[in-house]
Each structure stands twice: as C-alpha cells, then as structure tokens.
C-alpha cells in the first residue's frame, strides 16, 4: 500500500520534473537549437492529449458498461488520420498559410476575418470545454481519494473539492508560466508540447503496464482472457448501430474540432511532413491505449464487482497489493488529466483574448498608445484563470456526480457544430459569413437545448415540465424528442438535429447571401490552397502611413522584431531605412504577421483603422481576375508567336539552302555563259580574220565562212533575247496581247514549232483532242511560248528509248490545267525546287544548247497570265502542270 504522503511527494516530484522539462526546452528553443524538439515523434506524442483522464480511467468503465462501444471514440480519429491526405493535409496547409492561432481564428479568418464568428466559436468552445475540464478535475480528485481512503497513517480523507482546487491552481500556474511566456508568431509553445509528450509516454507506459499485469499475471495469458471475456457479463453487450456509427463520426470530428486538438494538431505543427508520420503513429498510439481496456474491464469486474468501474485501472493493482503499479497508473491518469487541461486552457485563453478581449478593447479604448503585448498577455493569463475557475466552479456546482461521465461526449457533439463551417470553408468557395453564422448559431442553440442543458438533470436548469411536455406544452419542442423524434438515443438525437439544422442553414444562407470582397479573397485562398494561382491581396493601395503601422506593430510584436520586419520589407522593396512603401502586398504580410499574435480578425481590424478601411473592393477582385486572364492571354500569345517564329525559321532555313545552291549554280552559270558567249565570239573572230585576208579564198569557202559567222551571231542574239525577255517579264514591263483561242490549235502550233528541236528523234505524242476543245481568252502567243519551251525541253532531255509525250487538258471551274508529261527519268527530287530558277540547268550544256533560262521565263509568263507552272512529281517522267484562268483577269 502506498502511503498518501508518499503519493503526494511523488506527484510533486513528477510535476517539478515536468516544469524542468518545459523550462529546459523553452530555453533551448530560444537558443534556436530545435533539432529533436521538432521531430515527428514529439508531434505525434503531443496529439495524445486526445486521450484524457476520460480515456485513461473512463474507457475501462465505458467498456464495463457498454462493451466494445468505447473503441468508436478511437476508431473515428483513426479514420481521420489514415485519411490524412484527404483532409488533415489541407487543414494544416491552410491554417499555416493563414497563421491561424486557434480554430476560432481559422473559421473567422475564412469568413472574411469576421470578429462576430470568432466570438461565436469562442463562446461555443468555452461552453463545451468547461464541463470537460471539470471532468478532469473530478477524475484527479477521485484518484487521490482512492489512495487516501486506504491510508492508515492518520491522513483524513481530504476534501475532494480541496484536492480539485489545488490541482486547478497548480495547473493554472504551469499553464501561465509556459503557455503565456511569449506572444510568439504562430503561437507555438515548445516547452509545453515537450512536457505533454513526456506525459504521453507516461500514460501509455502506465496503461500498458497495468494491461500486461492483468493479462499475464492476474489472468493466464491471452487465451485465458478471451475465455474470461466470453464468460463475462460484459459480453452481454448490445451493439446499437446508430450509436456505433454516430459515435465514430462524432469522434472523427472531435479530433480536429476540439480546441485543444486543433492547438496541437495544427497550431503547434512546425512541419507539415510530421503529419505523414502521425498518420500512422497516432492511430498506433490509440490502438495501444485501447488494447488492454477490455481485459482490464473484464478481469477487474470479476475481481471487484462492487467497485466503480471507472477507477479499475487504479483499484485493481491496489487490491492485489501492487502499490508500485498503482502508483504508475496514478501518474498515468494524472498525466492524462493535466496535459489535457493545460492545452485546453492555452487554446481557450488564446481564443478568448483574441476574439473577445481584443475586439472589445479595440472598440472601447480610444487611446491607442501603450504596449498591446502586455494587454494580450494579461488577457491570456486572466483567461487561463477564468477557464480553470469555470471548470472548478462547474465541478463544485454539479457535485461531481455520475453525470460528468457523459460530459466528454456532450463536448464532442458541441464542437462538432463547427464541422459544416470548417468543411464548407475548406472545400466550397460559396460558403459565406452569413451562412456560417446562421449554421453555427442554430447548431449551438440546438445543442444547448437538446443535450447540454438537459444533461444537468430535470429542474436544475430546464424545468422537469419542459423536459417532459415541451415548453408551453408544445410537444414537438421537447428537448429529447424534437419534431417528434421519439425513442432516439439522446446523444444521437441532439447530434442529428443540431448538425442537420446547422448544415441546412449554412448551405441555405450561404446560397442566398452575397459575400463581401474580403470573404471572397479568403474563400479562394482556403479552397485553392494547393493551386498555384495569383491570389488577390486583401488590401487595396490605401492611405496608410508606414510610420503609423510601425508604431502599431511595435506595440504588438515588440520593438525589435517589428523593426526587423519593417527593415526587411523595406530592403525587399529596394529602399533603405525602416519605412517600406505601404503596398497591398506589404499590408498583407504585416497583417499575417500580426495575426500570428492576436488573431486574423483583430489584426485585420487594427490595420484597417490605420489604413482607413481601405480594404479590398470588388473592383480590386475584378482587376486580379483580369490580370490572371491577361497573363493567360499573354502566354497563349507567346506560344503562338513562338510557333510562328519556328515556322519562319524553318522557311528561312529552306530559303538559305536554296540561296546557297543558287549561288553555286550561279557561279557555274557565269562560267558557262562566258563560255557560251565566248564560243561563238571566238569562231566569229577567227572566221572574220580569215575573211579579212584580201586574197586566196575561193568564193564558196568565203560564203560558207560568212554563213558560219551569221549562224553564230544568231545564237548570240537568241541568248541575249532570252535574257532580255526574262528581264522584261520580271520587271513587269510586258504588254499582254489578249485574244480568244481554242487550246487545241495552240497545242498543234506548239508541237509543230518544237519539232525543230532535236529533229532526229521521233516522239509519240499522246493527246485527247476532244478534251482540248477549250476556248481560252489569254495571251495566246505567250502561252504558246511556254508550251513550246516545255515540249522542246521534253525532246531535249527525255532519255527513254521510245520517247513519248503525253498532253492532258482539264477544266476545273474557272481554270484550265494542262499537263505535259514525258516518259523519261524525270527530275531528281533535290533539283525540283531549283528548276524554275534563272540560270538553272541540270545537265551539261552540250545537250542543252540553251542558257537555262527557259523554265524561268515560263514561270514569269504563267505568273503574268494569272496562272502557275509546277513540277508534278511521281508521274513516271518529267511532268509539268500549267494552270491558268480561262478568262484573263485584267486587273493588272
């Protein structure tokens, strides 16, 4: 048996140890050596404040009364955590980006930083948490009493209210010391978090130790325990589907809606990646905490049937004379209760000071000098005292009866009222402040009326008559049977109606109302937190003076941090000194920084006072939307441009290749043409020199020589004519002789004229004369010239053994097409692009006998006639297609 004074000593030693841990960690955190302090393990352990004394002692009692139903309280959070990717990740990301200091701050921030919503949520949380804190005080005083009852050293059974009082005072002291040490941005308390992590280990070890003791020492191992469970009256439990699902749901909600859970889960989170570890580690913690609950309950009931099952974890080891184990279990329960109360007090005091005290101060106090930090810290400390005093007061007033046991679940249902506003706020941009306020108020009211107030019992607050008959005898308003829903479990009844009305009003009022611009900005930030989109700033360029802002920031952040912040901002803007330009972006960052200390609504209000309320307007939102659209437009234009550029580059590359080839050809041509000119000139000179010899030449020889000179002169002339013709055509100084002819005649003429080229070769001409009966109005002479050229080329270059030329005529609409196709080897692919260029000649000159100007001339002529000449590849030989209008347009 543990003497009571030893117990008190151990207890005090333990508390001193916790103080030391918190103190050392705070010290190290200030020295900027976080390291393991911010490890995912500490984070996960700190989440264990979900398991309060209600879990530590109460779960066994719960299991003894309602069988396995107690696991729903831990399965709900397990589901939320294993589904972290779905919801918690977004919640934490948004809260961190908004620097939310509490769940009230988070919700108020989403709905346009509304002070009213923040205050409403704060009141709801305080009302829900007060009995919960009372429950912890009760469990601690009960566990003290267990030891005191057996004391034989003359210790009188201490008044349990006195125990509760001193515990409350101790907790208040600890919380004030470590919870309001600094008014830090983001509200992180490393000392407290580490201390509760230590407590988490203690309570896990304690419960596991008792469990292992029960299973392997008291009972005969696992198989025996299973047999005992089967035999036990605990097994006569009935699974009620409604409660099973309802409790799982409400516990899943509570894991992030309870103010203290939001504090450790979101606010104290220093790294989003810790969530990935907590996703499995925290369910594992819950699993281990629940593992031995049923064995302890069953074995305990067997051994001590008459004892309050809520305290079996303590009384079972005590009855078996294992004082050491009972001591450990006591410390575990003590840890569970204290850690919960400490964090709850911190979370609630933050909410009260930021959402009740500060807005009141802002609206009442006109003199704005003085240090706001001191005010906020004092408000926090007072709030902590207030919250604990409320809890203690509740404990005294309620008398700490059995009624308290249900308080945990009642608080769960209370905080679940924040669910629609929170989920809607994170996933639905249409949720508005009006909707959130309506939903929260309705849910809160129904919860109070149907669950919270009746929980005190008849005639304490609600008269028995109201409970039985409804107010003024209106039956369908009975608190436990709203709208005639009789026979439901009271908890489920309240959960169902409060959340149904809450959700319905939230949605309906949101749809009907119209959000303010700031709400719309915030909605976008919350819902699209993972999108990389330009967000509108909450401020338009206002008349705020940087100096005034600095003065205000100093009062909240403290002079040194505020100055450092302003200086860094000024530097980022490229200015020297302490006063940056008050751009919307700067105001935004300043507000966020301040929000980390005093909450979003207060920070917004304080800046709005200085900036003259120049908050964001609908026009600003439109401007942002336009900017976004412009950026998108611009980028699509850029894309088009770049496509165009690559097209141009390709064309240029082709042109360049062509030019290079042409230049090579031109060089070759120049030497050729000089050769061409030189050959006749040489013979003319030679023969004329001979002719100049006065004697010795017979007449017939003289005549022959003169003939040669004449022929060579004609060749020269033809060459020069061609050059001249091309030049005339190219420079547009050509007169077209328009006439109407039939194509057949034209082709006949061309065939005749071209026969003089290579007359020794016999060609088969294939043509369909009936199709050639097409009348065209054009310059017949020029068109014939083109045809002659093509036919002559075919005669010259067609290398087939039995050469054939095919001529096809087609009329397509207003245009005629004339193909000239031979059966030679055609023109190689790489040369097809060049043949229409001047001076282009593919083979050597001896066979050509021309200057390589023919096709260039043809192209110019066809252009003048409003048509074109192209090379048709893949026709089994060289093939050219002439295409020209049936009626020459006289536009030129």
């Amino acid at each position: 048996m543990v003497p009571f004074d030893i117990l008190v000593l151990v207890c005090i030693a333990y508390v001193v140890f916790l103080f030391l841990v918190a103190f050392l960690v705070e010290k190290r955190a200030r020295e900027r050596a976080p390291g393991w302090l911010r490890s995912p393990v500490i984070y996960t352990l700190s989440l264990s404040i979900y398991c309060t004394a209600w879990t530590f002692y109460g779960a066994v009692g719960y299991a003894a009364r309602s069988g396995l139903e107690f696991v729903t309280i831990y399965l709900g959070p397990t589901l939320v955590f294993v589904g972290w990717w779905l919801f918690l990740r977004k919640l934490v990301r948004v809260a961190k980006s908004q620097r939310a200091t509490s769940i009230a701050d988070m919700i108020s921030s989403r709905y346009g930083k509304s002070p009213a919503i923040g205050a409403l949520v704060t009141v709801l949380c305080v009302v829900a948490a007060t009995p919960y804190i009372a429950l912890q005080l009760q469990s601690m005083s009960l566990s003290f009493a267990v030891f005191a009852a057996d004391s034989s050293e003359g210790w009188a059974l201490p008044d349990r209210y006195a125990t509760g009082f001193w515990v409350a005072v101790g907790l208040a002291l600890f919380t004030i010391l470590f919870g309001t040490r600094n008014l830090d941005a983001n509200e992180q308390h490393h000392g407290v978090v580490t201390a509760i992590a230590v407590e988490a280990v203690v309570k896990l070890v304690a419960l596991l130790a008792v469990g292992i003791f029960v299973v392997w020492v008291v009972a005969d191992g696992a198989a025996d325990v299973v047999a005992r469970i089967r035999a036990s009256d605990v097994a006569a439990w009935e699974l009620r589907p409604g409660r099973w699902v309802g409790l799982t749901f409400v516990a899943a909600t509570a894991i992030f809606c309870l103010p203290r859970m939001f504090q450790v889960l979101v606010v104290e989170n220093s790294d989003e990646r810790h969530l990935a570890t907590a996703a499995w580690a925290f369910p594992l913690y819950l699993f281990l905490m629940s593992l031995f609950v049923v064995p302890i309950a069953v074995v305990g009931r067997e051994a001590l049937p008459a004892v309050n099952p809520d305290l079996l974890v303590l009384t079972l080891p005590l009855s078996l004379d294992r004082g050491d184990l009972a001591m450990l279990a006591f410390l575990g329960g003590f840890s569970s209760a204290t850690s919960m109360v400490i964090v709850a007090a911190i979370a609630l005091s933050t909410m009260v000071s930021n959402h009740v005290v500060m807005p009141l101060w802002l609206s009442v106090v006109r003199d704005r000098r003085g240090d706001v930090r001191q005010l906020v810290l004092r408000a926090r400390r007072a709030s902590i005292l207030g919250v604990l005093a409320l809890g203690y007061g509740y404990f005294r007033v309620s008398g700490g009866g059995e009624a308290l046991a249900a308080m945990g679940l009642i608080a769960f249902v209370g905080v679940a009222q924040m669910l629609p506003a929170l989920i809607g706020g994170l996933y639905w941009r249409g949720g508005t402040r009006t909707g959130a306020a309506a939903g929260l108020a309705a849910g809160f009211a129904v919860w109070l009326y149907a669950l919270f107030l009746p929980s005190f019992g008849p005639d304490v607050i609600l008269p028995a008559a109201v409970l039985a008959e409804g107010p003024w005898g209106i039956g369908w308003l009975r608190p436990r049977a709203l709208f005639g829903a009789e026979g439901m479990d009271p908890l489920l009844h309240a959960l169902f109606w409060s959340l149904a009305l809450n959700t319905a009003l939230y949605c309906a009022a949101s749809i009907v109302s119209f959000p303010s611009p700031l709400e719309r900005v915030q909605a976008q930030r919350f819902v699209d937190v993972f999108e990389i989109a330009p967000a509108a700033s909450g401020w338009s360029k206002g008349g705020a003076e940087a100096e005034d802002l600095l003065a205000m920031a100093q009062r909240i952040l403290g002079p040194a941090p505020a100055q450092a912040f302003f200086r860094a901002e000024a530097e980022a803007q490229g200015k020297t000194g302490w006063l940056p330009d008050t751009t919307p972006a700067f105001l935004e960052r300043l507000e966020r920084r301040l929000a980390g200390s005093v909450g979003a609504a207060t920070a917004h209000a304080m800046i709005a006072q200085i900036a003259g309320g120049a908050s964001v307007s609908v026009e600003d939102l439109m401007a942002v939307a336009n900017e976004t659209a412009q950026i998108m437009e611009y980028s699509s234009q850029l894309e088009q441009k770049s496509e165009e550029l690559s097209r141009t580059a390709r064309a240029l590359r082709e042109a360049n290749e062509k030019l290079t080839q042409l230049s090579v050809q031109k060089d070759a041509f120049l030497s050729q043409i000089s050769h061409e000119l030189r050959t006749p000139m040489t013979s003319i000179r030679a023969f004329s020199e001979i002719l100049m010899d006065p004697d010795g030449l017979p007449d017939d020889v003289r005549t022959r020589y003169a003939g040669i000179i004449h022929e060579e002169a004609i060749r020269l002339t033809r060459l020069l004519d061609d050059l001249l013709d091309l030049s005339v055509l190219e420079h547009g100084q050509v007169q077209l002789q328009e006439s109407t002819v039939v194509l057949r005649d034209l082709i006949d003429r061309a065939i005749l004229a071209s026969a003089s080229t290579a007359p020794e070769r016999v060609f088969v001409i294939e043509r369909d004369q009936s199709r050639e009966a097409v009348a065209v109005t054009t310059d017949a002479g020029r068109l014939t010239q083109v045809l002659i050229n093509l036919l002559s080329n075919a005669r010259k270059y067609c290398d087939a053994a039995e050469p054939r030329i095919r001529i096809e005529v087609r009329v397509a609409g207003e245009r005629a097409e004339l193909d000239v196709i031979d059966n030679g080897s055609g023109i190689p692919k790489q040369s097809q692009a060049l043949i229409f260029e001047k001076f282009a000649r593919l083979t050597d000159t001896t066979r050509a006998g021309g200057a390589g100007l023919g096709l260039a001339i043809c192209r110019e002529i066809m252009g003048k006639l409003g048509g074109s000449i192209v090379y048709l590849p893949g026709q089994g030989g060289a093939a050219f297609r002439l295409s020209f209008p049936l009626r020459l347009a006289q536009a030129a």
Binding site: L79, L86, L239, A276, V294, F530
Partner: protein, 90 residues
C-alpha cells in the same frame, strides 16, 4: 488554345505517386466499411454477441489500417518538390 496548361499524361513515377495518393484517399473509406461491418453481424440467438471475436476482428482491422497508412505515408512522404506541379493533371 487551352485556358490552362495541364499535363495530360505523366511519366511512370509521377503516375505511381498519383495512384498512391488515390489509395491514401480511399483508405478511410475502406476503414469505415470494415469498422461498420460488425453492425451487420446478427448476435447469436442464445447468448448475445460474441464480444471476443468482434473485439479481435476490430483490433485486427485497426492494425491493418495502421500498417496500410504507414506504408502509404512513407511512400507519399510530405510534399516532395515538384509534387505541386504535377498535381495539375491526372
């Protein structure tokens, strides 16, 4: 020209990661289903529900969820760099 640029297809690794994220989203649904299952089990006629079996079943499911979550969160980790970029498509 499309209004927003989205990757239509992803390389193998991003694709795998995307499907793992889907699995992580589905895990609580599976869990809810398995946890809800005992509701459907009719208690035996003579002596009520077999609490030991139900209890063992629930704790096995629980452990299974924890292991699955551990495997998934290990692979998914926090937010790797570049994860935001490939979140655009699917």
């Amino acid at each position: 020209m499309p209004a927003t640029r989205r990757a239509v297809f992803l390389e193998r690794r991003s694709y795998r990661r995307r499907r793992l994220a889907d699995a992580a989203r589905l895990l609580p649904v599976l869990g809810l289903f398995l946890i809800g299952l005992p509701v459907l089990w009719a208690p035996a006629e003579d002596r009520g529900r077999d609490m030991a079996t139900t209890g063992i079943y629930l704790f096995v499911v629980w452990l299974g969820l924890i292991v699955a979550a551990a495997v998934l969160s290990r692979t998914l980790g926090g937010d790797e760099p570049g994860a935001a970029a490939d979140r655009a498509g699917d």
